[in-house]
Symmetry: C2
Subunit: 203 residues, 2 copies
């Protein structure tokens, strides 16, 4: 599930950056498989709980697996969302987007892969690295939105494409949010402490 | 949790339609409480599973409660997202948005309330009603996006505000998606059948 979702995200970014329709269509094709896997994993987890009645540490693993499963499926949806806008962009004149989209795409991809590694290896340090990267994604998304706003104002013929880029940046940011959720769940699993909603702890 | 989230969504729509800052700030204030409740509910569910080792129908209820908890917290996040754009819009000249935003707001709110009622009353029919409404939200969102695109092209001075409305429509649509998730989970809980990813069943 993790591998397939990571691959879809990778292909969604490639479809955008390289204007490659084949990658886009692969992402659309793989969505059904991801949806199927989500249901299978939920069922496996539910029957595992019913059979084994896990406690404490094992129970934390089970709850986290359920949550990560949901996050992965939503990440798959967002990859499809990126691809839909990326296909629309292929039919429009090229915009001067600079390197920001490549940059946000790379950062988000690395967060996704690291969050999955952190889960598999139960590695708290990796998980904290993912959480620390999230602010960088927000900054990049804001810069892209600002850049596209300015572009539209200067040249209204860019409106269609610029809105597509704004939406793509938001979808990539949402993928990063899900990777952050996974990282927080990994820390909960490993340490038994809850790092979600950090502001609560800072109060 | 459900009541508080539904209230935040209601206030986020009111803050937008009535340009009311007080409602907006209430939504921002209640976010921390919603985050706190999510953690408390997860903990309650985890300790309930550990203590009771529920099976079959009860286990379905437990898995669904965990999933709905996540959906509710994300809906709260989206309400905050609506409010952020709604506050930005209050500082900009008024746009001719027509009644579409009111319409999508009302539809989304009613889906949220019905999905929660369906859960509490274990009512499959209500849940199916929510799922049936989701296409209407998508249509409204597309109409709003189209309307705002046209507005920007005619009058570039509307770009900031029009992009805000496009993002608000998307956030409302995401709230409707979460309500649909809840409705699907209710049907799973009541009937033991999985109606997520309907396309899989149609294949």
């Amino acid at each position: 599930m993790g591998g397939l979702v990571a691959q879809s995200i990778h292909r969604s970014v490639l479809s955008l950056v390289e204007k490659n329709e084949d990658y886009a269509h692969q992402v659309l094709r793989d969505e059904a498989r991801i949806d199927q896997l989500e249901i299978q994993i939920d069922d496996m987890v539910a029957s595992l709980i019913a059979r084994e009645a896990p406690v404490a540490r094992d129970m934390r693993f089970v709850v986290v697996a359920l949550k990560i499963n949901t996050d992965l499926e939503r990440m798959g949806d967002m990859a499809v969302g990126v691809v839909e806008r990326s296909l629309a962009l292929m039919r429009q004149p090229e915009l001067p987007t600079g390197d920001l989209i490549v940059e946000i795409g790379n950062l988000v991809e690395s967060m996704v892969l690291t969050s999955l590694d952190a889960f598999v290896q139960r590695d708290e340090k990796m998980a904290r690295g993912v959480i620390a990267s999230d602010d960088g994604v927000d900054t990049l998304r804001n810069r892209i939105t600002r850049q596209m706003m300015d572009l539209m104002k200067t040249d209204p013929s860019t409106i269609e494409g610029a809105v597509d880029y704004i939406l793509i940046a938001r979808r990539l940011e949402r993928i990063a949010d899900h990777a952050t959720n996974i990282a927080e769940d990994v820390i909960f699993m490993v340490k038994g402490i809850d790092v979600r909603h950090r502001m609560l702890q800072e109060e």
